[in-house]
């Protein structure tokens, strides 16, 4: 650790208000809602932000692709410029160095453009070139085979990009869908989360692992991956070496499931809404799950026998993951902190449990996701389906969807670029067994609930 005590104390002294500009979650809310409001202003004036929200179109030959890029070169440069300005402001406020971020983000943008374009090749599905998976594999190869200097990590902000993308995703989901499907999502996710947590926790205890480590592992497998593990670690006062164990196991299994869940869903010809729900129930981290859900949704309507739409996969995934699981991390942390104080031994500290952590640990980007959904639902309300498809969708929803896809691509690529397998902590055999048992139960139970119990529900969700 190179930071001196003096520097650290300065950072330690942060008040509640500073959260608004020191946390990535809030920045995802500000930027996401800002983009939605700007898009609405343009829409009201009979215009659109579609000029700046440029994205590669379908192509079949390299000359077509070259023509696209030469025709839209200024738009791509403008988009890069806007992202750079906005994101540099964010990293400056949260305390990172713009000098490292700017070249790193340009690198991310260039690679993302190539991946986005590759995904729009008309033969892409034939060769399984799903953009999220291509981004992940390319990132993994670059970081683990070629290697990159450490300072370049400044631009690989997986969580920030995915949170921004989720806020923008909210703008493309009707709030009525959240109200309609939210309770089922919460019910399904709660059942799986509780069972998975208890399986991991008691398996870990049977194997003789520390209670706090068992809780940190359980939360990682049951709630929202690394974010849940780190939140619960702080709540139960885990030993310093506990979080890296959970991080290694979550990353290892999450990357396997990114490929495995879409592959099995495809083999079983699950409708996209059902596949998305299963991924939302059984993947751990938001970014990993979105990569899997988006890549499965991309298989719809391509003569593979998979019914539904790409948007259904994203919608059911997001409902289960964000509404059913992520939102409750504060409650999990509070309950486990309470148990650690009242039931488990406490030798090192003498604090009480603060009920405020339910809010302090709440993933604030969810607020942006919900507000964005309400805003666009109100905007769209009153339009006929014909008007929606002819006017609202191309001038308002499509550009937001394009920017969302950019944000997701930055995130998927960054997962690969930041995953250095040799740097992950050695988890040890006992934590590995406990976590793996939980993964198996989670995947099976997730399948039963998503496909057999609520399958009819998830296959029929309406996303417009």
């Amino acid at each position: 650790m190179t930071t001196s005590n003096t520097e650290t104390v300065a950072v330690n002294k942060s008040s509640g208000w500073q959260e608004f500009w020191l946390k990535e979650d809030w920045w995802a809310v500000w930027l996401g809602l800002g983009i939605v409001l700007l898009a609405y202003v343009f829409y009201l004036n009979g215009s659109s932000i579609s000029w700046i929200a440029v994205s590669p179109a379908k192509w079949s030959t390299l000359s077509q692709l070259g023509e696209q890029f030469s025709k839209n070169a200024v738009r791509y440069l403008a988009l890069l410029g806007v992202f750079l300005i906005l994101f540099t402001i964010v990293v400056s406020f949260i305390g990172q160095k713009p000098r490292a971020f700017i070249p790193s983000f340009i690198f991310v943008f260039i690679l993302s453009t190539i991946i986005y374009a590759a995904g729009n090749w008309d033969q892409a599905s034939k060769y399984n070139l799903e953009p999220p998976l291509v981004a992940l594999v390319l990132g993994l190869i670059i970081s683990n085979v070629i290697g990159l200097p450490r300072w370049l990590d400044a631009g690989f902000r997986v969580e920030f990009y995915i949170k921004l993308g989720i806020v923008l995703l909210g703008a493309t989901l009707p709030f009525t869908l959240i109200i309609w499907a939210g309770p089922v999502a919460i019910l399904q996710a709660s059942i799986v989360s509780l069972v998975t947590f208890l399986v991991i926790f008691y398996t870990a205890r049977k194997l003789g692992l520390d209670k706090r480590l068992a809780a940190v592992l359980g939360a990682g497998g049951a709630v929202c991956g690394v974010s849940a593990s780190i939140a619960v670690a702080g709540a139960v006062r885990a030993k310093k070496e506990h979080p890296p164990i959970a991080i290694s196991l979550v990353v290892f299994w999450a990357i396997i499931l990114i490929f495995a869940l879409p592959l099995v869903s495809r083999t079983l010809h699950l409708p996209t809404g059902v596949g998305g729900a299963w991924i939302g129930t059984s993947e751990f981290a938001d970014a990993a799950g979105l990569a899997a859900a988006q890549s499965y949704g991309g298989l719809a309507g391509k003569n593979l026998g998979i019914s539904g739409t790409a948007e259904q996969a994203l919608a059911s995934y997001t409902l289960i993951k964000v509404i059913g699981r992520d939102m409750w991390i504060g409650i999990w942390a509070f309950v486990l902190a309470f148990i650690s104080v009242t039931v488990w031994e406490r030798n090192e500290t003498n604090s009480k449990v603060q009920v405020g952590q339910i809010w302090w640990r709440f993933p604030k980007f969810v607020i942006g996701f919900l507000i964005a959904s309400v805003l666009t639902t109100l905007i769209v309300h009153g339009n006929t389906l014909a008007d929606y498809n002819k006017i609202v969708k191309p001038s308002l929803i499509a550009p937001i969807t394009s920017l969302r896809t950019w944000a997701f691509t930055f995130s998927f690529l960054s997962i690969g670029l930041t995953t250095r397998f040799r740097e992950l902590a050695n988890a040890g055999i006992k934590p590995f067994i406990a976590f793996t048992v939980g993964v198996i139960v989670n995947v099976i139970l997730g399948y039963i609930l998503s496909v057999l119990v609520f399958g009819h529900y998830w296959s029929s969700i309406v996303t417009h």
């Binding site: 690394v226 006062r237 640990r361 992950l424």
Partner: protein, 82 residues
């Protein structure tokens, strides 16, 4: 045991945030926990103001407290100013 005795609305008295052994700079946490940024972040809301205690070797909340509390340099300066 009254369970409500174990719950409080806000912390009172010295807390880890003001302790010399406590570090919660997000960059330090990301550096200490390699792999954290793969699927989470040191700057995420869920992490609140948690940090590392170099006395007990724990990862805990900035709002926690313990008998080994030692005021950080800035705290001592503030006390002297008062």
């Amino acid at each position: 045991m009254n369970i409500f005795n174990s719950i409080q609305l806000s912390s009172s008295g010295p807390v880890c945030r003001d302790c010399t052994y406590f570090q919660n700079d997000p960059a330090v946490i990301e550096d200490a926990y390699r792999g954290l940024t793969v699927m989470s972040s040191g700057f995420a809301s869920v992490r609140d103001q948690d940090g590392l205690c170099n006395y007990h070797q724990l990862y805990l909340s900035a709002r926690d407290s313990c008998p080994a509390f030692a005021p950080a340099a800035s705290e001592i300066n503030q006390e002297q100013a008062r």
